[in-house]
């Protein structure tokens, strides 16, 4: 059996009486795109945060590429191969897209304790950053401050940052949000191509995207896994209809 790129075992996290993550287990296998869906308050962000190292679980284990990341900092998990994007873009707003991605290349390529050689004249570093920006289709806008980019473009800069690290897996938190119809279609195409080489754990609300891309789906409700299976299994699951997909009529 091949080893999971990301493996979560019996993860639990409570805030007071609220069980935000309640005995969650899931595997992200190589070549797979695994989507986590669930209504608001299902604990998706809490789950993502625990995987990324921003929040310490009360119990359970998280393995990245086979090794337990318990106690590792956010940065150490990134070095272990975890690339991620945020629900709300987290970039350096006054800096250009290129500068933002250059830092990711720098972080992924060794020590940041260089005190003498200017990074902007580091041809390899600049080229890698521009290549990552091209890969996400952000061309001609790389020298603008991120603050002047559209919401959707910022998401692409974040994705470029994640890809520039040459990660072993990607953790994407609602990357389609705010992209618009055209942008969503493009990103779906990009991710479909990307998932062949890079396992992706995706949290997403856009149901078109979910059912187009997902190899496996995990449905979270009130912190618990209510269903887990292939896209067609989930689509036909009664439990999921009741708990989640039915909500679409109210929305």
């Amino acid at each position: 059996m091949t080893e999971a790129a990301l493996s979560i075992r019996h993860l639990a996290k409570s805030f007071g009486a609220l069980k935000a993550t309640d005995d969650v287990s899931l595997d992200l296998m190589p070549g797979e795109l695994h989507v986590v869906i669930g209504p608001n308050g299902a604990g998706k962000s809490t789950l993502i945060n625990q995987i990324a190292g921003g929040l310490e679980p009360d119990a359970g284990r998280i393995l990245i590429d086979g090794s337990d990341v318990d106690g590792l900092s956010m940065a150490a998990r990134v070095r272990a191969g975890l690339g991620r994007t945020f629900q709300v873009s987290s970039l350096a707003m006054p800096l250009s897209a290129r500068r933002n991605v250059m830092l990711a290349v720098q972080g992924g390529s060794g020590s940041s304790f260089g005190f003498w050689h200017p990074v902007r004249r580091d041809a390899g570093l600049v080229a890698a950053a521009l290549a990552a920006l091209r890969e996400v289709g952000l061309v001609g806008r790389e020298d603008l401050p991120v603050a002047e980019l559209s919401h959707g473009e910022r998401r692409l800069v974040e994705l470029a940052c994640a890809l520039a690290l040459r990660p072993k897996l990607l953790l994407l938190d609602e990357p389609m949000a705010g992209l618009g119809r055209e942008g969503t279609q493009r990103l779906i195409g990009d991710l479909a191509a990307l998932k062949r080489t890079l396992p992706i754990l995706l949290v997403e609300h856009d149901m078109d995207a979910v059912f187009t891309l997902a190899d496996r789906i995990t449905v979270l409700v009130y912190g618990r896994v209510v269903a887990q299976g292939s896209a067609s299994e989930i689509r036909s699951s009664v439990a999921v209809q009741e708990a989640y997909l039915g909500d679409r009529d109210d929305a």
Binding site: G54, S73, M74, A75, A76, V78, R79, R84, F86, S90, L91, A92, M93, P94, L95, S96, R98, R99, N100, M102, L103, A104, Q106, G107, G108, S111, S112, F113, G114, F115, W116, H117, P118, V119, R120, D143, P145, C161, A162, L165
Partner: protein, 323 residues
């Protein structure tokens, strides 16, 4: 050339030209005033590295300024009477011994202070750096051997091979060269990988961690280097004044260094020099008319904070550009 580069060059040339002209006219007072500006600018350049470039609002940099001063003072004290420091180390009146020692000790203290303070952020960081500085201030007061509250006089200017350091113009040249070297090294560092990481630590620590770089060692390194620069300025100040006292360690001094950084332009390479020129001129010119010159300093500071976010350099050179 960018407007800021021109402004920087003008500031440097102004600082260099003033004492040369004053010297030609036989006005020693203005030569020493320029030395003071260069030294205060160096102290502020140290703080600017932590505060402006790393976003670390240290309200305790007087500790490092004072430590630098006391290293120079104590070394001179033992050099004069031939006694040993702590029964172990002889004194020294050589700049090339005192400077590295001042930087080393300021850096070691900063390593300890920063290691603890960097567990906090924001207003807690400000308070904890202030608390450490106050501890060191009271330690300075409680040193009867070295003058206690009255401070310690240095009777002879420290020596540098081949230079008559007692000559005001020579001493100014030393301070000017040291300042320019410090600014040049800061510039190189900020353009290099470390500067990119430090800038990101200031703008978005989470993004830095998401690039696989631990923010805390980057910030701690910046804090220590910052303290070393301010410590060196302290050693030079002691030499210029021929005197060190606990006042160098006081929180007023921390505030003064911070005001200079803000006046000149937070995070601008030459901001500390612009701020130091403005500050010392205000102190000298308005201070010549009224003891309450700080009232006017307050007004100007208010104006800068409200209307000129980039400080004096921001007014001259416009908003900071990132590419």
């Amino acid at each position: 050339m960018a407007r800021e580069t021109i402004a920087n060059a003008v500031l440097a040339v102004a600082l260099l030209a003033t004492p040369l002209i004053a010297h030609a006219l036989g006005e020693v007072y203005y030569v020493n005033l320029a030395s003071r500006i260069a030294i205060v600018a160096l102290a502020a350049a140290g703080l600017n590295l932590a505060l402006g470039m790393g976003g670390l609002v240290s309200f305790g940099h007087a500790a490092f300024f004072g430590i630098g001063g006391y290293v120079a003072g104590i070394a001179a004290f033992h050099a004069v009477d031939g006694s040993l420091f702590a029964g172990l180390l002889p004194g020294s009146d050589r700049m090339l011994v005192i400077w590295p020692l001042a930087m080393l000790i300021a850096g070691l203290v900063a390593l300890l202070v920063g290691w603890i303070s960097l567990r906090t952020e924001g207003v807690y960081f400000i308070m904890i750096t202030l608390a450490f500085a106050q501890m060191i201030f009271y330690f300075g007061i409680s040193l009867p051997t070295y003058g206690g509250e009255d401070g310690l006089s240095i009777y002879r200017r420290n020596r540098l091979p081949g230079v008559d350091t007692g000559d005001p113009l020579n001493f100014f040249t030393i301070t000017f060269v040291v300042l320019m070297i410090a600014l040049f090294l800061t510039h190189r560092m900020m353009e290099a990988k470390f500067g990119a990481a430090l800038t990101m630590a200031r703008l978005n620590r989470t993004r830095l961690a998401t690039a696989g770089v631990e923010p805390r060692p980057i910030l701690l390194t910046a804090f220590v280097l910052s303290a070393m620069i301010t410590g060196l300025a302290g050693a030079l100040a002691a030499d210029l004044n021929g005197f060190v006292s606990p006042a160098m360690l006081s929180w007023h001094e921390s505030g003064e260094i911070m005001v200079i950084v803000i006046l000149g332009g937070v995070g601008r390479l030459f901001g500390p020099l612009a701020g130091a020129i403005l500050y010392v001129l205000l102190q000298t010119v308005i201070g010549g008319y009224t003891e309450n010159w700080q009232f006017f300093l307050g007004l100007i500071l208010l104006g800068v904070v409200l209307f000129a976010n980039g400080g004096l350099l921001g007014l001259i050179a416009g908003r900071a550009r990132h590419d």
